[in-house]
Symmetry: C2
Amino acid sequence: MAPNAATATRSDPQLAMADLPESVAHEVAALAPNIPALYELYFGVPMAGAVLSALNTRLDAAMLALLLQQLEAKIICVDCQYVQIVLKALELISAVKAKSPFLVVIRDSNQGAFSTTQEVPPNSLDYDRLLEMGKHDFEIGSPIDECDPITVNYTSGSTGTPKGAVYSHRATYLNSIAQIFRFEMSAKTVFLWTVDMFRCSGWCFTWAMAALGGTNICLRNVTAKVIFDSILIHKVTHLCGAPTLLNIIAEAPYAGHRPLATKVDLVIAGVLPPLEIMNNVHKLGFNVSHAYGMTEALGLVTVTSLEFDQDDRASIKDRDGVHNVAMEGVDVKDPTTMRSVPADGKTIGEVMLRSNTMMLGYLKNVHGTQDAFKNGWYGTRDLGVRDPDGHIRIKDRAANAIFNCEGNAISTLEIEAVLASHPAVEATAVVGRPDERLGESPCAFVKLKEGCTTSSQDIIEFCGVRLPNCMVPGSVVFGDLPENSTGKIQKFVLKEKAKDLGSLCHSNGHLVV
Amino acid sequence: MAPNAATATRSDPQLAMADLPESVAHEVAALAPNIPALYELYFGVPMAGAVLSALNTRLDAAMLALLLQQLEAKIICVDCQYVQIVLKALELISAVKAKSPFLVVIRDSNQGAFSTTQEVPPNSLDYDRLLEMGKHDFEIGSPIDECDPITVNYTSGSTGTPKGAVYSHRATYLNSIAQIFRFEMSAKTVFLWTVDMFRCSGWCFTWAMAALGGTNICLRNVTAKVIFDSILIHKVTHLCGAPTLLNIIAEAPYAGHRPLATKVDLVIAGVLPPLEIMNNVHKLGFNVSHAYGMTEALGLVTVTSLEFDQDDRASIKDRDGVHNVAMEGVDVKDPTTMRSVPADGKTIGEVMLRSNTMMLGYLKNVHGTQDAFKNGWYGTRDLGVRDPDGHIRIKDRAANAIFNCEGNAISTLEIEAVLASHPAVEATAVVGRPDERLGESPCAFVKLKEGCTTSSQDIIEFCGVRLPNCMVPGSVVFGDLPENSTGKIQKFVLKEKAKDLGSLCHSNGHLVV
């Protein structure tokens, strides 16, 4: 590639961040399943000079109200299926805000006209009627600056309230093109919309498919029947989504009977389900890849093809595939020194990204944005190692420190919340500690308030009455907590410490330090 | 695509042009065939923070001296095959300039070490020795601004002295990615280097192939044997070049005997040879496309697949294919008003381009650059029409071919096609000749087949029954046709000749020479 063209001036997120407006002008929100209208909005809204935010259709009214307020959406395009929840959200907003956004209601073409008997506010319009009002000589709006926002994409909020990642025209342009050759797509590609179109602007496949002139198969509901029918009828070449997609496919009644006639590429992002399920999906003829990514990076960062041996056993290649050229840098760094960790396959650091294909920042969240980027690098909060061949391997989710306890994934955030309520505790961090019997057991690192004293036993008992058994810390370590330069606790350091606790004495199954 | 992201600030060539330095700092020139060393220079030179200019290996010493002087190259990397001509050029330069550039000599690995007995100036270095001197901890240089120059690419000079089109990191980055999905390339692509690597930075396939991690097959000489052997041994998937490549393939002794086992994409840019030759190439299994492009646009602009009917007759689709997304705008405009011509398939205008994938401008030629761009659009000097479906069709080269005859724009290509069908004609070129009464009248230059004779009158009558009156040549000149180094007929030379024909006698309205 033109060497490091991507590093030049415009790619510096810090720079872009400084430009990020506190609010996005001309915001259009959308709440719809993967239907053609939503796909169209990804083009029509930017062409009209506005910014689109397709919202998670699984949000409740309260969260929806919160996000709509943050967005200050002037128009909400809502599928008939979600009119009621949007009205409820608007009712919540109306308590604090006088002017309501304009509603555009998208009818379900398969179920006839939108029922006018449904309670819809007077200032609303039918989507098809809106299209009819379009002018043929309408001049398509171009962004004044290519770094202007094009969409706002909310994170899933697994670590708190969803954050609105703002994407630029430039970033989505480059990432869309990158998607095309990452998945060897062509004008012959038939893309089945099993991934939420509201998620990372549909992983940028929205624009990628249009750039190719390929075929989109939209779905109102993702079911096994629709998937298999679409593959058969429309000759689907690509589909992707969350791990649940594998379950839907593997458990389908069709699964055993209909081996695919053609090669279908299936990309799954997230924690993979058991090998057995993948095995079944592979046997059906799907070409399964595993992706690592996040909303802040416009969707996918790295993609790893899964290999299957002669016995059809999936061997998940532990490494996370080579990233594409649009993603300039994927590195594992010590977040304090910002130096790359040695490529020894052992030293843990934070996975960091640097690219033109990153968000500009979080909407109305200067602090969050500043926190996310460091020297132009985006900190993923994921822990990884570098292998000698230059590949990286993701080890853990640093930010929310999930670990296994008797097979349960536990968020340490909940344990930390209880610990923080203890009168003597100033700060705390919980990590998983290897435990022969339990897999991992919670290990609490506690910094006490000045002049306070307490015992491990007291802390454990305090948690015992407030948390389920498997979430009660098995070990408590007192002392200062290692922080990085921005005051963030370095959980990966604590994880190593917890490992080293080794064979210290324990009473009643709890190790007490 | 992210709608019109490409139009934003950075794409304005006028802007970029203003930034274009009068001379390029740290210039490295290269003179070599399509060997691995030249490919490497496309990466090593920019990574060292310098600008590469690979020069046409068919230039004579005088022209070479001229370009080297314009480039102010500090280093010249020269293949052993071209050491003598470079020394001759440097001798010419030394007359006006004291300091000579540093020479790096590339040996032909197939012919042993570079002979030290050859006369090489003392300040020169063996290329392999240079590589050995490289430091492992060398820090790759990034451009300060992504619009900084990366290469200087000379035009073929068919309309005069070659002009040095300066490419930026940004433009080559985008065009390289565009090449990938324009030709549906992947990591499995095996690219045979039959197109000159010095031409438009190898049509940007240099960087495209690296971005893919595909396979490059380098060639010192392009012969039919090497082409067919490479396809067989290396499983070549793509090759491209000038129309002569079709002749080499079609006329190969292997052609009849070795139908290709695999699909091979062959892209030809320039005037296509007769259908018969294409037919033969198609029959061998090549998938032939025809490209329209120019040095100023980093190589290819549009690509049209050729269709072959059941009888293996090639039907050259008259239209010039849809351009790729990286090329933002391809339009046919009235160059005076800058308005698009009506999409009626008839009204002739100038083909104009607007894109991030254009040159920054011509080196040390502010006037030429200003002349080339108008309101951000690059004027190709090619004439075309717009079809009702939005496609464009190239009619002729404006700069040297089209002229006005009683107010009509006439394509000389159509006249040339008729002339070429005359049994005695081997080659022909038609230019406009100033005519007081008509404005311009067609003047035909004709080279006859060996042993053939005919008269001007015969030629004129031959055209008279086949063409409308205003397209019948008023003058016919017999003799050899002037060609440039790539075998392209130099119409500008003929235009001058036609002008000089002056007031020679004419009968019945036709000037006969």
